[in-house]
Amino acid sequence: MNEKNALLIESAFKEYYFNRFDLIHVPQKATEREFGYQKFNSGMTRHLVIKNDKELHLLLMREVPSDVYCSNAYYSFPNLSMSEKDWKGADLIFDIDAKDLALPCRKDHTIFKCNSCNNHMIEFQSQCSKCGSTKFDIVSVGCMNCISESKKEVTKLVDILTTDLNVKKEQIEVYFSGNEGFHVRVTNADYEQLGSQERADLVDYIMFNGAIPESFGIKRQNNSKTSLPTFEEKGWRGRVARKLFSSKSKAPKVTREIITSGYSAFQVQLEEIKRTMGVRVDPKVTMDIHRIFRLEGSINSKSGLSKIQCINLDSFDPFLEACLLGDDDIDIMADCPIQIRLKNKKFGPFNNEIVSLPKYAAVYMLCKGLGNAT
């Protein structure tokens, strides 16, 4: 990022970190966690110990990081190297990113930025229309549809966690990631000891990955006395039954149909159920028990929005509630072919023009690479 842009963003971040101490806290068991941060145009600083809110605030004021992270794991010695940290456990974390949902609306808010001439295109083309280059940066700007679809995934996840896995509602924290999705953190002592492979299998459960027909009563041969799961059953068996039968009275008829169609047809149905009912989380995040994960309350430098907890998920509007930077006007050179909406105001489209924008919108453009400081 060019120096001028970095300075503008940094000063906006600093102002936020200075004014909003109330939003920025270390998580529980802070002394056992590893912290890390990044500054614009420089590498990651890791293996830090931050004992309390005060130390965190000091660090934020001193360094003004572009991004701040904290481990989901607890260690005896969080400041030592990976092999010496002595892993003690880790919260279960989930990452739901609209990018992974591949929704049809994405093409309407994705911008292709030519790497060599900075030309912006909305539609995907194999070559830049101005200079013929074939290398692009792909930028996606905020979309309410992406957010509401991601919320549905969060709701499915919370349902499985609470009903199948016996996690209490109070043990689940849902956060807006600060860009295009949600982070979910589960603090439940039963699960914190699980290693990476165990978490991988747990994710498969949540995503409904790897289910075989046998588990639902359909064998390769001889299904005459088969019993499929029933409507009232718990867990995936019940969920599958309710999906297949749609109503209790239809169960006998549908069961007959399933048995006649056979094993591979049922496999296809399971695949379909996985697509529609499995929770689409990023498995790599949950499996990684040494990850440093974006710290709640901190700003995401991909957007200038904050990672904040969603108390009421249904009504949560990230482009209002997580947009927490100042609103004094700043002039920037904006090049944004799509209109964006922040704090219930519309901005753009801008075609390489100098505009005066509230700080939060100006920073958003800069973070997305759709504008430059003047």
């Binding site: 896995l165 016996n166 000891q193 699980l194 165990e198 289910a211 867990g235």
Partner: protein
């Protein structure tokens, strides 16, 4: 308190209560050296021989009512410790855990209606810190306890998604419950044996100890694990050594990898001995087929890292960076 009787100890001679029981009989090691007790020594020796061949020693049910089952187990441990050969101890632990597994399963199954599950559940709880409870016909354990054990199995039916799950609990049959703790049972018995100290043994044991040393020679050429092997291969070997089932794709990896490293079919075959479904003839036949020395004559290549990853058989470590096939492991070093 739960009363553990002679019959229980005959089935589960590795329980801590066995020592106490023995003390109460007043029997000493010296006394066991008396010619009168020679049949016990022979029984103990037989128990080890059977185990070393990969078989499970079968007790006749009548014998469960006398002390010879328990005593022969204890004497077997003394013989094994005196011989001091790790391979024998490992094979013995494995076979004994299989034997106990059978009883454990029976005990769980038979006593489930009578709600008289104290002993089998106590064993599972005390030894492995897993809480098993009963819900109607089923045994239930907590999801995390389940995951920590089931991830070592590679068959799809052990994936959590293929289990009945509700309220944080997994539902299992008696057989599955016991299957889940098999490896730990083996390790527990192995640990028990390791912790025993034997200073001097009666003269009458000597002969059989020497026989054990001779017996072990048969296995001494089968040291396969080398630090040079990639993690995926090491993992496969470990799985087999624990007597766990390795899926076909895992066996294929081991066979092709070891063949590519110049090992012969005869050297590789014994590796599969502990597999639950081992059959020497078919194993050799399949290996010969893979090596290209029979059938179509095509020599099969070791599968790629990518393929192994998709089969959950990859356990990559930093040394794996930059390689695309396990056979390259150790050849290319990360350049930095």
């Amino acid at each position: 308190m739960l009363k553990i009787g002679a019959k229980d100890l005959a089935k589960y001679p590795f329980l801590t209560e066995a020592g106490e029981y023995l003390r109460n009989t007043g029997l000493s090691l010296e006394q066991l050296g008396d010619p009168d007790w020679q049949p016990i020594v022979e029984k103990a020796y037989g128990r080890i021989v059977v185990a070393s061949s990969g078989q499970i020693y079968g007790s006749d049910l009548e014998a469960l009512d006398n002390d010879s089952e328990l005593l022969s187990f204890l004497v077997a441990i003394i013989l094994l410790k005196s011989a001091g050969i790790a391979t024998l101890i490992r094979r013995f632990s494995l076979a004994e855990s299989r034997r106990a597994e059978k009883y454990l399963q029976q005990d769980l199954w038979i006593s489930r209606d009578k709600k008289n599950l104290e002993l089998p559940l106590k064993i599972i709880q005390d030894l492995f810190a897993v809480n098993v409870s009963i819900d109607n016909e089923d045994f239930v354990i907590k999801v995390p306890d389940y995951l920590q054990r089931a991830v070592h199995f590679h068959e799809k039916e052990w994936k959590l998604v293929n289990r009945r799950v509700a309220n944080g609990l997994v539902y299992l049959s008696a057989h599955e419950t016991v299957r889940l703790i098999r490896a730990e049972l083996g390790e527990y018995i192995n640990g028990k044996i390791q912790s025993v100290n034997v200073d001097s043994i009666p003269q009458s044991f000597r002969h059989r100890v020497e026989d054990l040393v001779a017996l072990a020679k048969k296995f001494s050429d089968t040291t396969y694990v080398s630090s040079e092997y990639p993690p995926c291969v090491k993992h496969g070997i470990e799985v087999l050594e624990k007597g766990e089932n390795l899926p076909h794709s895992g066996r294929f990896l081991l066979a092709t990898y070891l063949l590519s490293k110049g090992q012969t079919v005869d050297q590789i075959a014994p590796l599969f001995k502990n597999a639950p479904d081992y059959n020497e003839r078919t194993t050799k036949y399949q290996l010969a087929h893979i090596s290209g020395s029979s059938g179509s004559g095509t020599k099969y290549q070791c599968p790629s890292c990518e393929k192994l990853r998709s089969e959950s058989l990859c356990f990559a470590i930093p040394d794996c960076d930059g390689i695309i096939n396990p056979v390259q492991f150790g050849k290319k070093r990360k350049i930095q």
